[in-house]
């Protein structure tokens, strides 16, 4: 039932990706995401595909799991591909045309690139982050990376705390929703038949008790936290301190190098020579 939903979809393991510091993985996935929008030459695509494949191998997550992760978006993807193919006009003769549509080579290339980017985005970010990083490590990593914002009074710690509590209570609330639904069903409520409006109205007797109990939970939790001496991040320490290790520095360096390579491969040769020219003038002046 609903409780089958696995949030974040973390797969515990001990691969090299699992053992990396969450901050390293957050930074690398940032580079990865920027990278996917930069690439536009065949060489860059090959490099990018190789990077993604090696990430999958490094995570030791089975290909089946990864394909399953793409499955939910396949229909959307096919739909947007068709739209792209049909509505993109290009120079020269169309490859073929039917009805009012004309299909150009550019359209096909564009649709392919678009699909490639979306798939890479999902595969890469899930392998780098959600599949291999526990939610709590992710929150810790985010808190640590964003901690400079504390200087301008952004309550980073509170955001991280809220995220942790949300993650902690999602399964509990799902369980509670099921209980309430069963209670309403046993009294004759019908959630599966009737018009959309009717079905939406049937949800009200579920949402109201769910909200009421959530507020009660929140209050009890606040009291319990206060009894455990919680006072925000005033004088707070951590049991598991995040620590950059040699492997994190190594991965970040390799990541930065690959990112630079990707930029070089993506910049069109004309732009590259223009860049070279600019450098030459600059150095000449010096």
């Amino acid at each position: 039932m609903i409780s089958d939903i696995t949030l974040g979809q973390f797969f515990p393991g001990s691969s090299i990706l699992h053992r990396l510091d969450p901050r390293t993985k957050l930074l690398l996935s940032l580079l990865y995401i920027i990278g996917v929008f930069l690439l536009n030459t065949p060489m860059a695509f090959i490099l990018y595909t190789l990077i993604t494949l090696s990430l999958i191998l490094a995570s030791r997550i089975s290909m089946r799991v990864i394909l399953k992760g793409i499955k939910p978006i396949v229909i959307v993807l096919i739909f947007t591909m068709i739209i792209n193919i049909l509505l993109t006009s290009g120079e020269g003769e169309p490859l073929f045309s039917f009805l009012i549509f004309a299909v150009y080579k550019e359209g096909i290339i564009r649709a392919f690139f678009m699909a490639y980017r979306v798939i890479m985005l999902i595969v890469g970010s899930s392998v780098l982050l959600t599949y291999t990083t526990s939610p709590i490590a992710l929150t810790d990593g985010l808190e640590s990376l964003l901690s400079p914002l504390k200087l301008i009074k952004v309550p980073v710690h509170l955001f991280a705390m809220m995220m942790t509590i949300a993650l902690r209570f999602i399964p509990t609330l799902i369980e509670e929703t099921e209980t309430i639904m069963n209670a309403q069903k046993s009294r004759g409520a019908n959630f599966t038949e009737g018009s959309i409006i009717k079905r939406a109205r049937a949800l009200i007797p579920i949402l109201v008790p769910l909200f009421v109990s959530s507020f009660k939970r929140a209050e009890e939790l606040a009291v319990a936290m206060e009894c455990r001496c919680y006072r925000g991040d005033v004088g707070r320490t951590k049991m598991n301190k995040l620590k950059y290790r040699l492997r994190d520095i190594l991965w970040l360096t390799v990541g930065a190098l690959l990112f630079a390579g990707l930029i070089l491969l993506s910049v069109k040769s004309a732009e590259l020579s223009a860049l070279g020219e600019a450098m030459r003038i600059l150095f000449y002046k010096i």
């Binding site: 942790t164 509990t172 939970r217 001496c229 919680y230 004088g235 301190k241």
Partner: protein, 293 residues
Amino acid sequence: MNDYFIRCENLSYIYEDTGESAIPVFHPALDGVSLNISRGEYLAILGHNGSGKSTLAKLISMILTPKSGKIYIDGTDITDETLGEDAQYELRRRVGMVFQNPDNQLVATVVEEDVAFGPENLGIPSDEIRKRVDDALSLVGMQDYKRHAPHKLSGGQKQRVAIAGIIAMHPDIIIFDEATAMLDPIGRRDVLAIMERLNREDGITVINITHYMDEAARADRIVVINDGKTLLDGTPDEVFSNVPLLHEVGLEAPQSAELIHALREAGLVINSNAITPEGCRDLLIRLLSGGDR
């Protein structure tokens, strides 16, 4: 006079309920309760719902402030408004609370992270926290679950994790506020056993607030609270020998005590008391064999 670890003097508390009418309604929850608790005591507080027993716990753990009266913990007046914030948190650390609903007191998504929550708030160094967490988890027998998610545990297991979270803060006293009320028999037995071990082996003062008579019967001392007042205060033997008074305020004695009371009512002369099934058995055997009453 300072021998007592906790001293409550003439405590009163009133709940204010504005509700739907504009005129606030006042519910007196506690009305002049005085209570002294020694260090290392195992105390049960009995009372039916709404008797004020939970309010008393919330006053001692500084969740609520009394309307009148004084509370001293180890000689410090916790009702003193000039008490500094650090002193307040130090007192909170020394008074641990375990609540009724195990779900609503766990904060983290991993068991060991949750146990670490308290010590982290106290600003204890990482290595020390790790040690405390491992010790606390093995004390409650949950060391094998330290990497588990709390929502996958049973009620009793969750409550044991919650207790570990309190133990890791090294408190002097733990108040169990109906901590067994939502548990199944196995969970109840486990939590009760931990409670008693903490008291006997680690010298932690334990207050068990409950409405289960058989739980209260295991404590060294019972305080019965009714309508915000102390009704009875004494050893289980003393308290449960007063069956008529308990009935009067809507409470029952443990079944053994009830049986002895019923036999007496029926005209049998019995001089001693029994509050445990074993004690009751021995007493009945003596009676049936015509021996000492």
